[in-house]
Structure formats: C-alpha cells, structure tokens
C-alpha cells in the first residue's frame, strides 16, 4: 500500500512542527525519515498513523483519503520508541491484544488467535518468551515483541518511531540488518524515523531528510549522500569540511585555491561556501609549490589511526581553520606524516552553494 502525504501542516502553539510537507511512499518501500530533533519527523509519522490530527493537508493510503479515519481503523502497525509494551500482560497477550479487541463478529476463534500469535513469535524468533513479562526482557527483545504485536493486525503499512534509539550500539546494528531482511521478506510499506544517518543510509530504500518541519531532500541513500541538494543535507549526512570563499563566473576562490563550479556560471563575485567530504580531500607532504599546483597549506595537528581509515585533523596556515581528511592506510603510510608536519591539501570533489 502506498502512502501519500499532501501539503500537511501541524502547529503546537506557535511552533510549526510540520510545515507544508508533501511526500510519496511507494508500495513496498522502506523509507527513512531523518533529521535533527525538532525537525518534525516524529510528528509526521504520528500524523500518518492517525495519532496526531494535522491542521491542514491530507493523508492518502492507496488513493483513499485516510485523514478523517480514526487511528484504529487505519490498520497501521506502529512501533514506539520506548516499545510501549503492555506491562501487565505477558509477551503472548501483548501480541494477541490487537486480535482480542476486535468486535465479536470479526474476532478469530481462540485457537486461531493462539496459532497466529505463536507464528508471529516464531517470526521474530522469540517464541520461547511467550509467558514472560516485558520487564523480564532485554531492550532488543522488547523491540522485536513490539514489532510482532504491530504485525498481528496485518497492517497495511508499518511505521517505526526511532525503532533502535534506546538500544546499545551492538544490538542496534544487529537489529538494523534484521529489519532490512525482515522487510525484504514481508514487502510491507514501511516508514521509520531516525536521527542516526548510518541507520538511514544502511537500511532504507529511500531517505527523506527533514529540517525545521520541511522536507529538504528525498532520494536514495546514494543520491542524498553523494549529491546533497542543500547545505543542510550536506552538513547533516556525514562529516564535511566547509570552505568559505567567493564565486565568480563559474570559478570559486578559496584561499589560494581556485576550483571549477560550472553550475554557478551566472554568479557575479558573490560569497559562497564549498562543501568537501573528508575522503575527497587529497593530502600531500610539504607546503605549496612542490609541484606548482594550487593548494591550501596546512599543519598536521592530530592523527586518528583506529578504524579502517586514517583521519587527520589539519590546521590551515592561512585562516587557522581545521580541515578533516580521511586517507586509506596505504596512502597514510606512503605519506609518512607525523603530528606537526607540514602538508598541503586539495579538494577532489567540491559542492558549492552560493549564500
């Protein structure tokens, strides 16, 4: 089932939590809503679920207007950030809840309910926990029970609010992969909220980047990471170096360096910011003029070798600003840099935004 959000707004007092958002979630996709706290992503998710009523705009499930539908009639699966398991019920009864509260005529016979709950518990690989209470489970187990409970009503869409937010790093990673596999098997249209870019980039088919109640960019993980549409997206997804300079007729001047920016051919000497990812910074030993190329001179301030890549903090000799660069281990060994050494950098790929 596809979800369409059309021009939805929601204010809390004078604060515009969601500000004229439109969005398409195609059938069977796994979409991540990502943004800093207060960007409106959770509010948007709750509006789709029916837990919040939008001030204006419409929500469509497969072309059918669901805006006025009460939350229980929408048949959405919702997984809460803090699981919201019913603390006074066993795991089994938690999962069975959605089946038991149906009107008598639509309710399954007890045997069928039991069989279905058992199946769901097997699906989340926790069938041995049926008679435990939520307080006896670990965080990861609770999250999977919450998911099984949401799936019991055979939801048309699955909505997850920071599903892994309260878990430690290792469990988080495991569950992330598990959710992806899970989605590939079930093919249920899913939207999940996160503030963790790695999570979004790794799990989602498409990413919706939100900021201040608006959508900044929608695209595949590759697209939003490799070609961010706005400075905000650049800043938010992954670390990035900022170079302030001036752009004139398609050429950007940063310190002693000039870079091509053909998309700004019309710009007339206006201030601009160039964004460069740390892995797009090329580092050479020694200062300017080694090979007569335009570069920025730096001094190595800090070297972090833990991990697959080596991270260097480099201080610009002209402005004193810090540039972050990432090198492969081989390249780092070849350069043989130490803290305090002189070096020079050159951006390999630049994205320029005119202020």
């Amino acid at each position: 089932m596809s979800i369409t959000v059309r021009d939805v707004s929601k204010r809390f007092g004078s604060f515009a939590a969601v500000d004229g958002v439109s969005l398409e979630v195609p059938d069977g996709e796994l979409v991540a809503l990502i943004g800093p706290s207060g960007s409106g992503k959770t509010t948007l998710l709750r509006i789709i679920a029916g837990l919040e009523v939008p001030d204006s705009g419409t929500i469509l499930f497969d072309e059918h207007d669901a805006t006025a539908q009460r939350v229980g009639a929408r048949r959405v699966g919702f997984v809460f950030q803090h699981y919201a398991l019913f603390r006074h019920m066993t795991v089994f009864e938690n999962v069975a809840f959605g089946l038991r509260v149906r009107p008598r005529r639509q309710r399954l016979p007890e045997g069928a309910i039991r069989a279905k709950v058992d199946d769901l518990l097997k699906l989340v690989q926790l069938d041995w926990l049926g008679d435990h209470y939520p307080s006896q489970l670990s965080g990861g187990q609770r999250q999977r029970i919450a998911l099984a409970r949401a799936l019991a009503i055979e939801p048309r869409v699955l909505l997850l609010d920071e599903p892994f937010g309260a878990l430690d790093a290792k469990v988080r990673k495991e569950l992330r992969r598990w959710l992806r596999r899970f989605h590939d098997e079930l093919k249920i249209t899913s939207v999940f909220v996160t503030h963790d870019q790695d999570e979004a980039l790794e799990v989602a088919d498409r990413i919706v980047v939100m900021n201040a109640g608006r959508v900044e960019q929608v695209g595949t993980p590759d697209a939003v990471y490799e070609s961010p549409a706005t400075p905000f997206v650049y800043d938010f997804l992954g670390s990035v170096n900022l170079f302030h300079g001036r752009v004139h007729r398609g050429r950007v001047q940063i310190g002693g360096l000039e870079v091509e920016a053909p998309e700004h051919r019309e710009a007339q000497d206006s201030p601009a910011v160039a964004y460069v990812r740390p892995h797009d910074i090329e580092v050479e030993r020694g200062h300017t003029g080694a090979r007569g190329m335009a570069v920025i001179d730096v001094i190595v301030r800090h070297i972090l070798t833990a991990g697959a890549l080596v991270r260097l903090d480099l201080e610009r000799t002209d402005s004193g600003g810090i540039i972050e660069a990432e090198l492969s281990k081989e390249r780092y060994r070849a350069l043989d840099l130490r803290v305090g050494d002189r070096a020079s950098v050159r951006p390999r790929a630049v994205r320029v935004f005119v202020n």
């Binding site: 837990l51 229980g72 803090h82 919201a84 006074h88 509260v101 019991a152 878990l167």
Partner: protein, 297 residues
Amino acid sequence: MARPTTARPGPAREPAVVRVALIGTALAFLVLFVCLPVVAVFAHALEKGLGAYLASFAEPDAWAAIRLTLLAAAIAVPINLLFGLAAAWAIAKFDFRGKSVLVTLIDLPFSVSPVVSGLIYVLLFGAQGWAGAWLAAHDIHVVFAVPGLVLATMFVTVPFVAREVIPLMQAQGAEEEEAALVLGARGWQTFWRITLRNAKWGVLYGVILCNARAMGEFGAVSVVSGHIRGKTNTLPLHVEILYNEYNFVAAFAAASLLAVLALATLLAKALVEWKSPELRHATRERAPFAEGRPVRS
C-alpha cells in the same frame, strides 16, 4: 531492640550511642503518642468486662450509628472512586483548558476545614439556605438527615482516589494507550484493559484511604447531622455523645470499633504497598531497562 547487628564500621554508620538514642527517641514517641492511646481505648472499653463491652453494641442507637456510617461510606466511596478515576484519567492523559483549575478544585477539600465544608451544605440546603424553601416545599430533607451526611462525607473524601491515581497515571504516560488505539482498541477498551489495569494498585490504595476517612470523618458530618440519636448519628458522632454523657464504656467501645477500622486500613495499605511495585517507586518505573543481556537471533 536497637541491638547493633553488625559492628563493622562503615562510611554511613553512626556510633552506637547515637543510633540507640535516635531509634529510642522515635520509638518512645511512637509508644507515647500512638500505641498508648490505642491501648487506652481498648482498656477503657473493656474496663467493666467483656459483657459490658458487648452490651454497648446491643443498644439500638449504637447499631443505628454503625449502619449509618457504613451507608455513608458505601455511597461516598464508590462515587468518589468513579469521580477520582474520571478526573485522574482526564488530567493525566489529556491536555485541556482549565486543567490546573480542576487540579486545584480536587485539592480544595484538603485545604478547607471540615467544619466549613459541613457549613456549606447547611447554607445551601438548610431551612434558611438558598435551596431551603424549595426543598421544604417538596418535602426533601437534606440537612439534619441522611442525604446531608452522605454529601458532607463525599465532599471531604473527594481528593483521595484522584490524588493517588493522578501521579501514577502521569508517570506511566500515554504510550501504552496509544499503542492500544493503533491496534484497533476503542476508547472504552483502552481504558478498561490498559489504563485501569496499570493503575489498579493506586486505585485500591486510594479507595482504602478514602474509606477510612469516610468512616472516621467527624467535623463536616457533625455540622450537618443535627445529632438525632438513632437517625443521624454516625459512629464518630455517637462516640462524642456517649462521652459527653459520661458513658465511658460505651463511648470507648464505639471508639474501639473505629480503632479496629484504622488498624485494618493500615494493614490493607501495607499489603497494597507490598504487592504493587509501581507504588513503591512510581517514578522509577519508566527508567529504561538495563541493557546488555544477550539477544538470541
């Protein structure tokens, strides 16, 4: 008694003298102001033997007082239970205009002297009161009759259930209710299966306290009662009348019933506290569960 069990000095240990002095003071205080009076009540009641003690309950007026006390509590407690639940639910789970006004109003009976609360009903429903003439014309007796007693009892016991349940419901938040709604539960099902189940110990605790106050209330009831023997005397009022008549055995016998009620309340309260984890640490309930247990997958 205050024998030190472990003599090992620790960072939070006071010298034995200080410990004995502190514990001794507390115990002496308890014995002097709590235990002695309770014992005195029973001692006076049984002064002239068990026969005289029991005979004082054979009095029709004593019976009438017991019955009336039970009746007032039997009406006031369920009504305040319903009101307390509705108010707590509204306050803890929803946001609306005038919420703080409602909270203040619920607390009002605590801050107003019980005598004043009784007087309010006399002013409203008494012969010279606002509704007095209309009530007299329709032959409805409120003041100096059972309805007045019930009203006064209800008024002074309004806060008990709500005050117990509101913080509990607030600490539990509304997420479980939202989860129930998303799963297709109706409002009533959500309240019955989730909200009430989660708050049940707090509700029971409130009912116990409410009941104790309803049966023991003196001031407000005294004003609206009129002290008509066998008709409008509750147990506490009955005690006062007997005492003023120097009928000490009967007075203390009636008082001993109230003391038994108080002890039973304490016991029930302790049981509820012991049974319910939420009441022991309602605020800690929502703290995230310790991570680190292996997840099988």
